[in-house]
Symmetry: D5
Subunit: 116 residues, 10 copies
């Protein structure tokens, strides 16, 4: 099940504002209705305040959704909440892009903070 305790951070290397984007192509969870696997990618964009997310821990956190049954909308909001609580960034945006289910492709976007 999703485990935010897997997330680790390191101190930002600059006091000036800058932007970071991490694209994970191989996200998978399970449809809560049918039990079939869902596949997608997760795009994280953020402006760090004092902390940056460590890449390997981010990957392990994403893998912890592998057997989780949840709607697209709930997965996206869960990731936004967990990362926001962990990094407390100046601004953050989480986008999930899902391969089609029933001929429909879906994209969900949730943000935290204000982009400067």
């Amino acid at each position: 099940m999703p485990d935010p305790a897997l997330l680790e951070t390191f101190e930002s290397p600059s006091q000036q504002s800058f932007y970071i984007e991490h694209v994970h192509e191989e996200f998978t969870s399970v449809c809560p209705i049918t039990g079939h696997p869902d596949f997608g990618r997760v795009i994280l964009r953020y402006e760090p305040a004092e902390l940056c997310i460590e890449l390997k821990s981010l990957k392990l956190y994403y893998q912890s959704f592998r057997n989780e049954g949840a709607f697209y909308e709930a997965v996206t909001n869960r990731i936004r909440d967990d990362l926001r609580d962990c990094m407390k960034p100046s601004w953050m945006e989480v986008t999930t892009e899902w391969k089609g289910r029933g001929g429909i492709r879906s994209t969900i976007t949730a943000t935290a903070g204000e982009e400067m």
Copy 2:
């Protein structure tokens, strides 16, 4: 014929603002003048208020246009009206992209509410 009663919703998983996009690649209706089939895709983008649209019901609603004779412009406004009445979203945009008829490709866009 188009049947908005097919549409079902579920409660939004978050009180915070977020965005949803569903792309349906296989929309088909019928030209009201010639009776030939038209083919296109429908892109729905919205910011939920209290309700989200259920994916399978959305697909069945789109399929209910299969033998409907209607102009591109009327189809697009009809979908916008039906989805707005059903979900009452904070903001919504419906775009239909049509494969060419007579060497002309067409795209129609209708919105409801104000994007924040």
Copy 3:
């Protein structure tokens, strides 16, 4: 020669604001200097007020330029003027994209009204 009398309209299916785009890939006219044929595409975008343009009539209107000798810039302004006079849209944009003549590709854009 270009014949705006070919253009036909129908009443807009909605009182609310929406946008329409028609892309015609196979426009041809003639260079007024050399007599060689020019080839391009015409992109019409508009927000209807009370009238929409009928697709087949638009195609026949575009075909009436086939043996017309005119500069790119004049063709574009002529289409803008004819369509504006016919539909009286809230906003309209005509873009012509021309395949290269002498190693130079050209794009001309003319508008009418203010996009909301």
Copy 4:
């Protein structure tokens, strides 16, 4: 050597504002340090005031740089200055895109006037 006297104009076909783009794919000049040829393309965008640039004269003007030794930055500013002096447009933008030299691709952009 670059020869602005090659440039010719014709009167704009419309009093209303519109935009023109001419893309020339085959620009070549010479590196002033090494003497090796440089290759690129030149993108001219402008909003005419009273004059439009004639296409064939523009091509001959670009070809007059063929054996000119000049830095990317100087070529771009030279074209901007020559075209501005010739056409006196409401707004103008010159972009040069250069194929790589030493594994680095470069793009230079210079403008004149204010885009409305």
Copy 5:
């Protein structure tokens, strides 16, 4: 190790504002944790004040990171600081795009000054 003394400049050929972009496709440094090589590209965009960066010196400066062990975030801020100190541009943006490590692709962006 990164050596800003390699950077050379030349005087800007114009007093008027213009923009320059240099894209380097072949940047490589080393992961400070695992010692494995990282690969990416560096996109530099700037508006010169009085100085432009000389291309060959920029390439040699980038190559001086070849055996440097540093996080993506630190590399990006280091390049931004070195180039800003050397050129003192009106505005500058450094973007690094990294090929995937552990199935995650990353992009980091740092700026200096205000774009006009």
Copy 6:
């Protein structure tokens, strides 16, 4: 239901061997199990003997599958048989490419005669 009587032919314009390909992007039939619509394209390649297929009649023949419930494999063999019986070509190949059902995209190919 599929109606080969819709197919019409005309005499080949040449006694010498040549090849013809017609690509139809908008084929639709119905899944015989679930009743959901299937979408795909049909690629016909042939070397005429004495007869060529007339394009408009080919399109009407393809549209006659619209409400037919049949497996991909059966549709493809049916088209091959009908066209072979109608044109008696020297060689013929029918390929159907189907948009995904259940995350699997399918392509079926059936031939008649020997390619020279």
Copy 7:
């Protein structure tokens, strides 16, 4: 674990030779060394003898590899063996394409029988 008992077949609709291709984009198994998930796609091409594979059963069979730890080479040969034993086709080819592990993308191909 991989379960060939999930595979179902139906009788081929034609006695004449034809070809079938099914592309599954969402295959996943597990690296037997590290335990990390692998992702790829499976391309099945075959010429049926008397039996065709049923699509939904093929999908369920592929999903049964989800928690299987196996090398790329072993997965590919396993699928080839299971499908050959089930369908006894005239000819069959199984190709697996894997997203990169450690910066290397891999493709494995195994066949059974002779292509005619």
Copy 8:
């Protein structure tokens, strides 16, 4: 109407075998049934014997089809015959690719002689 007298040739610069391809993107003729314009491109490939086709004359010959009403199949065979009679090449292939009419895209290929 198509005029092979427009075609001009020059002597081949080499006694050794070599191949030539000329791609014309802007071919247009007229549908003999409906009178609507057809658009396509013509690809000529040949191995010269003693003569090569002159490029400007080839272009004028293609333009002479502009108001010709003819089926795709007849246009293709006509071009093959005219060019073969004019150049007497060792081998020649004419391919015409047509933009869609009624949702069907067509490609016709005719050859003369044997490719070595």
Copy 9:
């Protein structure tokens, strides 16, 4: 320096013939004349006899060329020889694709054994 002792193998999982392709996108060595880094990718295709190459060891072997000064042609033949001696495959092909040096992109291909 290139170190074939890094290469490790494992026993092939099948006695039947099959094919393996590994694409490494991030190869780098050094130009023996100028000392500048070269960048490219290496495509290995082979049909195993009794041994398969282990992926992680292949990556480390490729990385051992990082500071090697050698011509494109020599690097390619070196990799072919080392892998052939290590795996003794039924057939093997090594292709190196190099990013441009001096405006010229190069591809080198060396094989061992006969493809069946």
Copy 10:
């Protein structure tokens, strides 16, 4: 003018057969009729016998055509002859691809020796 004395060679690093491809994107010569510049790329493929062509010398040789007036067909045969005389390869193929003149894109191919 074209100067084959610029070409230099080095000894092939292997006695076994292998293949080399060099793609030069920035070839330019002059039309012998109009004096306008032509632009294209040159693709050289060869199997060395005892000698390989040195890359920098190949580039300088190509640049020596910069102000040469010659037909496409003559340029291609000239390069084939010069390189064959210099390297005496087992097999060689020279392809020139030319950007359009008068709406027609051309490709010329000349070979020497037999591909094994």
